[in-house]
Amino acid sequence: MSTVKDIARYVRSKNAGPFWVTIEIFCETQEAYEKIKNSPNITPKKVADLYEADENKIKVFYIDNLLIIKFSFPRPNPQGHKYENDMHAGQQYIFLADAEV
C-alpha cells in the first residue's frame, strides 16, 4: 500500500488562527489527486481519528482545478495552551502524510 506522501507532491499543515488547524495535500497529477480524493481511507472520519478531532466539525475542500485536498478542523487544544507541542501546527501534517491511501 502507498501512503499519502508517496503519492502527493507535498503535504503541509498550519494553524488557521489560534483555534483551527488546516492540512493540505498538493498533487502533481490528476491521477494522484483522484487516487487520494477517492480513497476510502482519506476521509473526514480518518482525519478525525488521526487528530482526535470531532468528525462533524471537519471541513473538507476538494479543489479540483488545483489538485489540492484541504482539511480544516478545530484544534484539540487552542494554540499556545500550557502544554503546547507545536505552536504553529506546522509538523502535524505527518499523521496524514503517513496515512495509507
Binding site: I68, S72, K82
Partner: protein
C-alpha cells in the same frame, strides 16, 4: 480606468526588507506602500504582554527603508498590526521608532496612530446588548472573560486607514487590523473593484508566498476596475496562475469564503491569466457585503506560572520504553509532591520526550526503532512561580536518577544546565474567537495624529 498600485515589500515587517526588491518596487511608481506586521502565529504571550516578536533593530531597519521610500516619493505608508500583536503598546513602539528615523533622516510628515485595543468595559456593554458572537470553534466565554484577558484587540477593516489618509496622514501606524485591510484600503478609496481589491490584498498579504520563489520577499499589486495584477519584486521569480490561486488556501479554514469586517471574498469563480512571464491577472471574484459590520476580537490571559527542566537520556533501558519511565516517574513525583503539602489543584506538569513523541504526540507506531537519545522536557504549571519552582526542586533528584529497575545501580542522566530548572514566568492562553457588531467601522478605533 481607475487603478491603484500597491507595493508590499515584505510579508511581515521586522523580517528584513530586501533593499534591492524595495528599489525594484519603487521603480514601478506605487501609489502606496502597505505592510502587514501582525500575526497570532507565535502564540498568546505576545498579545498578553503587548510585545513585539521582532527585534527593535530589525523593525527599525524595515521602517527606515519604508519611511524613506514613502517620504521621497510622496506616497502614503500604511502599516497594520504594528509589531506582531497590535496592542496600543506596539503602535507606540512603532511610532517611537518612526519618529527616531524621521529625525535622523531629516524627514517631515504627518503620522496617524490608530489604536484598536479594546476597553473591557465597552466589550461587556456589547456583550450585554448581545452584540458579541462566537465564531465556529470558539471557546466558551462569560462576561467575566473580558476582564480576565490581559489585552484584547479588535481587527480593524480598511475604513480606519482610509479615514487617516483622508485626514492627510503620510504614515499610518495601526494596531490590530486584518492583513488584507492594509493593502485593500487605498484601492477601495480610489474606487477600484471591491472584490478585486480584497482578493488582491489576500493574495499579496504574505508577500512572495504567492510566487514560485522561496518567500520572505515582496510583491507588487495593481488593482483596477475589473481585476488585479500581481507580480514579484525579485527577478527570476514568477507569479503563475497556480502559485497565485494556490496561495488562497494558505492559513485559512475555508478557501472559498474569506470573511472581512465589511463582507466576504468569494473567489471560487475567479479566472487567473498569465499576462507576461511573471505577472498574473485575476478577474471574476465576487464580494458579498455583510448586512452587519463586525470586528473580530483577539484576547489572551495568563493561566499560571511555569518552570521547565530539560534532561538528556541515552540509557538503553529507558529508550526501550520511554512511556513507562514517564508513567513511573510521574506517579513517584505526585506522591512526593503530595507528601510535601501541595494539593493537586495548585499545580500540573507534563513530560515531552523530544526525539520520541514530543512533536508528534501519542503512541509511537509498532516497529519504530528505539531512539539513540531523548531530550526529556518537564514543564510544571502552578498558581505561583514559587510553587512551580519548589515542585521543580522536588522533581530534580528524580530527573537525575529515576531508574527503570530499582534493584540495579541508579543511573545518572544528563543535565545541560545549572541550575537544572528554569522559571519561565507566566503562561498564557487565547480566550476569544468572537466578533463584535459595530454601528460604524470607526466606532471601536481611536485616532491620534502628530506632525514631524
Amino acid at each position: 480606468m481607475k487603478s491603484c498600485k500597491v507595493l508590499m515589500p515584505i510579508g511581515a515587517m521586522g523580517g528584513g526588507i530586501n533593499e534591492e526588491s524595495f528599489a525594484a518596487g519603487m521603480a514601478m511608481m506605487p501609489d502606496v506602500i502597505a505592510i502587514d506586521a501582525g500575526s497570532t502565529d507565535s502564540g498568546p504571550a505576545y498579545l498578553a504582554n503587548g510585545m513585539s516578536k521582532y527585534s527593535r533593530a530589525m523593525l527599525k531597519h524595515d521602517l527606515r527603508i519604508s519611511v524613506i521610500g514613502s517620504r521621497k516619493a510622496g506616497i502614503p505608508l500604511l502599516i497594520g498590526t504594528c509589531s506582531s500583536c497590535g496592542t496600543d503598546s506596539t503602535v507606540n513602539l512603532c511610532a517611537a521608532i518612526t519618529q527616531e528615523i524621521m529625525k535622523e533622516e531629516g524627514l517631515t510628515g504627518k503620522i496617524a496612530k490608530i489604536y484598536s485595543q479594546q476597553d473591557p468595559e465597552i466589550l461587556k456593554k456589547k456583550w450585554d446588548e448581545g452584540k458579541i458572537h462566537a465564531l465556529e470553534g470558539a471557546p466558551e466565554i462569560t462576561r467575566e472573560t473580558f476582564d480576565q484577558c490581559d489585552n484584547i484587540v479588535a481587527l480593524a477593516g480598511a475604513e480606519p486607514f482610509i479615514e487617516a489618509i483622508k485626514n492627510g496622514a503620510d504614515i499610518v501606524l495601526c494596531g490590530r487590523a486584518t492583513d488584507t485591510a492594509i493593502i485593500a484600503a487605498l484601492p477601495l478609496m480610489m474606487g477600484c473593484d471591491v472584490a478585486a481589491a480584497w482578493h488582491g490584498a489576500k493574495i499579496a498579504e504574505c508577500g512572495s508566498q504567492c510566487t514560485d520563489g522561496a518567500g520572505g520577499d515582496g510583491v507588487f499589486l495593481v488593482v483596477d476596475e475589473t481585476g488585479f495584477y500581481v507580480k514579484p519584486l525579485q527577478t527570476n521569480v514568477h507569479c503563475t496562475p497556480y502559485t497565485v490561486s494556490a496561495h488562497l488556501i494558505y492559513e485559512n479554514v475555508d478557501p472559498f469564503r474569506l470573511t472581512e469586517p465589511s463582507g466576504s471574498i468569494l473567489p471560487k469563480d475567479a479566472v487567473y491569466t498569465q499576462v507576461d512571464e511573471s505577472t498574473v491577472y485575476v478577474t471574476g471574484t465576487k464580494f458579498e457585503h455583510a448586512k452587519q459590520y463586525t470586528m473580530k476580537l483577539e484576547g489572551a490571559r495568563s493561566v499560571g506560572y511555569q518552570n521547565i527542566s530539560l534532561v538528556g537520556i541515552a540509557d538503553r533501558q529507558v529508550m526501550a520504553d520511554p512511556e513507562t519511565w514517564i508513567k513511573n516517574i510521574s506517579e513517584y513525583a505526585v506522591a512526593l509532591i503530595t507528601k510535601s503539602g501541595y494539593s493537586s489543584d495548585e499545580y500540573s506538569f507534563n513530560f515531552k520526550a523530544y526525539g520520541y513523541n514530543a512533536v508528534i504526540a501519542g503512541p509511537v507506531s509498532e516497529g519504530t526503532p528505539a531512539p539513540r537519545e531523548i531530550g526529556m522536557l518537564l514543564t510544571i504549571t502552578a498558581n505561583t512561580q514559587e510553587t512551580a519552582t519548589q515542585i521543580a526542586k522536588l522533581f530534580n533528584p528524580l530527573l537525575l536518577h529515576f531508574p527503570i529497575d530499582f534493584t540495579k545501580q541508579l543511573p545518572s542522566f544528563a543535565f545541560p544546565f545549572s541550575p537544572v530548572d528554569c522559571p519561565r514566568g507566566k503562561t498564557y492562553e487565547f480566550m476569544l474567537y468572537h466578533v463584535v457588531d459595530v454601528d460604524d467601522p470607526l466606532e471601536l478605533v481611536r485616532f491620534e495624529y502628530f506632525q514631524i
